[in-house]
């Protein structure tokens, strides 16, 4: 067991290394040179140009640049943005909590609503209400998140205009305004994720409800409701948890979109802005943060899985 965990962690470390190399390569491949961004296209002499290149280490071969970049990144130093003049790390520290808060709240809401809703749906499987709800849900997670955002804006701007004219306010400044400014983004992104959790819970529960031991318990006269809710849920849980890994990809992509729609100063918006301004250190840093989070959480889900699944525990 311990050996397995160590092997997994080693695997994760290798993937992360590869990811960092790829991210660095992306950064290096983005058209244009950072030097020209700093020095400005015109009016710079060749000497100035070279001096900047040397100062940034851009005259060294790419592998050396990569190792330097990685070593610095591991110490939390992502360089200085040539656009804003601030250290990239300080921007990340500012943006990260916004994205994290949104992500955690989404998971909280989607589980709190999606799980019970899925169970109820499974118990009432294929009745008319269930079908209606599922068609609606299928639709919500078929369309891109920005469409949901637009639709919510469209409806909301009629019925609750107050909610829309709030710009992001940090918790520390005004808790009430903060909650109000997070409400719409949360609603937007939680919508499809909740739908997925519910759909997955329903499918997983249905499978378990038709399993032999549940049928046996039912025949043995254990009270109907208790079987359905408790017995089944324990066994339905593992696939639901694995599914989180799948949701996560959508969640992280959704963060970028939602932050953009509602102008939240999170990592996603920071990344898009950096892409538009060709702010290389910022682009690579945010990409690295996103990918790392994705890989690590997926690995955690993987490790958690055997603990939840009684059949796997022995191994």
């Amino acid at each position: 067991m311990l050996k397995m965990i160590v092997m997994r962690l080693l695997g994760v470390a290798l993937v992360l290394l590869a990811v960092s190399a790829l991210v660095f390569a992306f950064g290096a491949l983005i058209p244009g040179d950072m030097t020209s961004v700093i020095v400005g296209q015109e009016g710079a002499t060749q000497e100035q140009f070279e001096a900047v290149r040397q100062r940034l280490g851009l005259d060294k071969p790419l592998p050396v640049q990569y190792v330097n970049w990685l070593a610095n990144a591991l110490q939390g130093d992502f360089g200085t943005s040539p656009i804003t003049g601030r250290s990239v790390a300080s921007d990340l520290v500012r943006q990260f909590p916004v994205s994290l808060e949104l992500a955690l709240l989404t998971l909280l809401v989607s589980t709190a609503i999606g799980l019970p809703a899925g169970i109820v749906a499974a118990v009432h499987a294929n009745r008319r209400l269930d079908v209606l709800i599922r068609v609606t849900l299928l639709f919500t997670f078929s369309v891109p998140i920005f469409v949901i955002g637009i639709l919510l804006l469209l409806v909301g701007s009629r019925w609750a205009p107050d909610l829309f004219h709030v710009s992001f306010t940090p918790w520390s400044e005004d808790p009430v305004m903060h909650v109000r400014s997070m409400a719409m983004p949360l609603l937007t992104i939680a919508f499809p994720i909740t739908a997925m959790t519910m759909q997955m819970t329903r499918a997983s529960m249905l499978e378990v409800l038709h399993a032999p031991y549940v049928v046996t318990a039912r025949a043995g006269g254990v009270r109907e409701k208790r079987i359905e809710y408790l017995h089944a849920l324990r066994n339905a849980l593992p696939p639901i948890v694995t599914f989180i890994g799948f949701q996560l990809g959508i969640l992280l992509g959704g963060l970028i979109v939602v932050e953009q729609i509602f102008s939240l100063p999170g990592l996603g918006r920071g990344m898009l802005e950096a892409i538009n301004t060709r702010d290389y250190p910022m682009v690579t840093a945010t990409t690295l943060v996103f990918a790392t989070a994705f890989v690590i959480i997926n690995a955690l889900v993987d490790l958690l899985y055997p603990l939840l699944d009684p059949r796997q525990r022995g191994r």
Partner: protein
Amino acid sequence: MSTAPSAPLPKTRLRRPYLLDQLLRHKGGAFGLAIMALFILLALFGRMVAPYDPNANDYLNLLSAPSAQHWFGTDELGRDTLSRVIDGSRIAVAVAFLSVSIAMAIGVLIGVISGYFGGMVDSVLNRSQDVLFAFPTLLLAIILVAVLGPGLFNASLAIAIVYSPRFARIARASALSIKTSEYLDAARLAGVNTPTILVRHILPNVMPPVIVLAALSMSTAQLAYASLSFLGLGVSPPQADWGSMLSKGRDFITIAPWLVIWPTVALVMLMLAFNVLGDAIRDVLDPSHSSSKSTDTLT
């Protein structure tokens, strides 16, 4: 897409006239084909039907509500929304076909090579795909567009790269099973050279499940592009494009809701058409799946 991440591999044969025939008989298939045909016609000949030049400004009619003159209203520059929605279908349809074709080509190439040759090649290709899977899909698409630069082809290429591992996996699995089949041994014994074996025996037998996946991926690809475009990473303005129209229209959502309503309607309609058609193609090529599915969905 919906819940089942691993559909069983379809095994049925594929003949083109037969496929079309079966699709027309399939009730979802005929419907999907009809809407698809409509969009393709709009994409090809839209500029002729469109009441206005999609990029012509009309400063006398800024943000005007839908009327007999402008059925879908106009935008902040007075451009006709109907004409722009029609013109945008060109991009949407083109991106869907282009990106799925590229993804299919890349995926099948990689999958067949790694399945057929196995060994080191297989490990290297598998590991590199694992690394691609280490990125959330939209993030990967965004960063690829950042690297490749904006534009229709580059966005399609980025989406294709993101989705190609799925094609590679399915192609690899089929290639693996075909590789050990007796007809392949027979071909080797006959002295058929490797390129011919790949083209004549492996490829045709790999294609049916790949085509099903392609059909199911069209809507995903179209939506992925819409997201990129919404984030400002699609074709450059002033070209009309649903994603960017929505992004712009968001600023006027309270005073000119038609600017977001119609592109959304178009987007969702195309998505539904692709979905229905994809499901129909899967049903036709893989009857085993449809029967198992009907027990669990809409009854």
